[in-house]
Symmetry: C2
Subunit: 223 residues, 2 copies
């Protein structure tokens, strides 16, 4: 019942990732599928955020999830149990990121004709995933309060490639030295266009704004 | 006054990192220098932990610090200001890890003859740094409570290469779903020999045990 499909992703043999990514995006456009690449540090709350968001979205759009992980399959099982949504696990075999060809290997295992939105949960890593275009239509990231408000200064590329930054774990703001205004200012320095949404995946606060953003993006992509 | 030396690290041209790492360790042994490689996710508290620890150690051993970062120099400045200890910044130019040759480029900028302990703060990343032997005498990592107790399951290599795991931010345990016993069990699964020390870098709790562990390791290395 809790079994999820586990795909052992092979390292890409193609040299031109940008070309692969552009081709994948074009194909997704033709099929009317919106692919979101969700990135963050380990433990920032990607899976919990996804569960909350999927439960808000699942009656409105047809969703599937790809969970990238170095080794385990705990995330895909968790998503499947908590939402009932088709969820597959991509094993990266130690690789620290996904590229477009690896993403395609995952998508080949989904029924794209019956899907409006695919969410790819990338490997927990603020460095390498930012360097590889996965072919996704949009990039989003989660920065959690305990990680600190200075992260846009220290991991500039990640913030500059993301269309959306979710600031998670706002419920623990009183216990950490995290200045939301300063954080927004640092994000703007890296990426003036990025949308910033504060959320608390544990309580659900703010998650509706993320779901609405996704619905709007899907609508724009399909029309 | 707050200026720190910033070294732009070049990508290694040598193919055999293991050989470089072993050679570096041998050289450090001859010079009586203990090199600790400290790793963790972004925002787990490496720099704060270091400041606390260095202030406990600085009257007992001669210490120097190398702060690896993709871009900024905030950490080296912070360490210098808070401890007065020689601290240099290594810019990795977007690289997600350090290898032995890159570490050596940093060490070349320190006065090793006048140093007992060098602490290398690696790039904030639970994946790639675990794959490259830096030539350090010991590896340590910080896992912070907000990241979750399941991290040893999801980032197995990092836990298996570390001699010491510091569990940081214990002051926020009441606000997170983190089971310390379960975490220790998962760490043991990956690495039965790893020493585990719970700390709170913010309040200083437990940091003395880390400092004592370091003093003991330095003594063993020098004799």
């Amino acid at each position: 019942m809790d079994e999820v499909k586990v795909i052992e992703i092979k390292k890409s043999v193609f040299a031109d990732n940008q070309q692969d990514a552009d081709a994948l995006r074009k194909e997704l456009k033709t099929k009317g599928v919106f692919l979101l690449n969700l990135m963050s540090s380990p433990g920032s709350g990607k899976t919990t955020t996804l569960i909350r968001t999927l439960n808000l979205l699942k009656d409105k759009v047809r969703v599937a999830v790809m969970e990238a992980d170095i080794d385990s399959d705990v995330d895909a099982v968790k998503i499947r149990r908590a939402t009932g949504i088709p969820s597959i696990q991509l094993h990266t075999g130690g690789m620290c990121h996904l590229d477009a060809e690896m993403t395609r290997q995952g998508l080949d295992n989904l029924s794209l004709e019956e899907t409006d939105l695919v969410i790819l949960e990338n490997v927990g890593n603020l460095v390498c995933p930012a360097e590889f275009d996965t072919g996704a239509v949009a990039n989003a990231m989660i920065l959690s309060v305990p990680e600190g408000d200075d992260k846009p200064l220290k991991y500039p590329l990640m913030f500059s490639v993301c269309d959306l930054v979710l600031i998670n774990k706002t419920d623990v703001l009183p216990y950490f030295d995290f200045n939301p205004d300063k954080c927004r200012e640092y994000i703007r320095m890296r990426n003036p266009k990025a949308r910033v949404i504060p959320i608390c995946a544990r309580t659900g606060e703010g998650v509706e704004a993320f779901a609405d953003w996704l619905l709007e993006q899907i609508h724009l992509w399909k029309h």
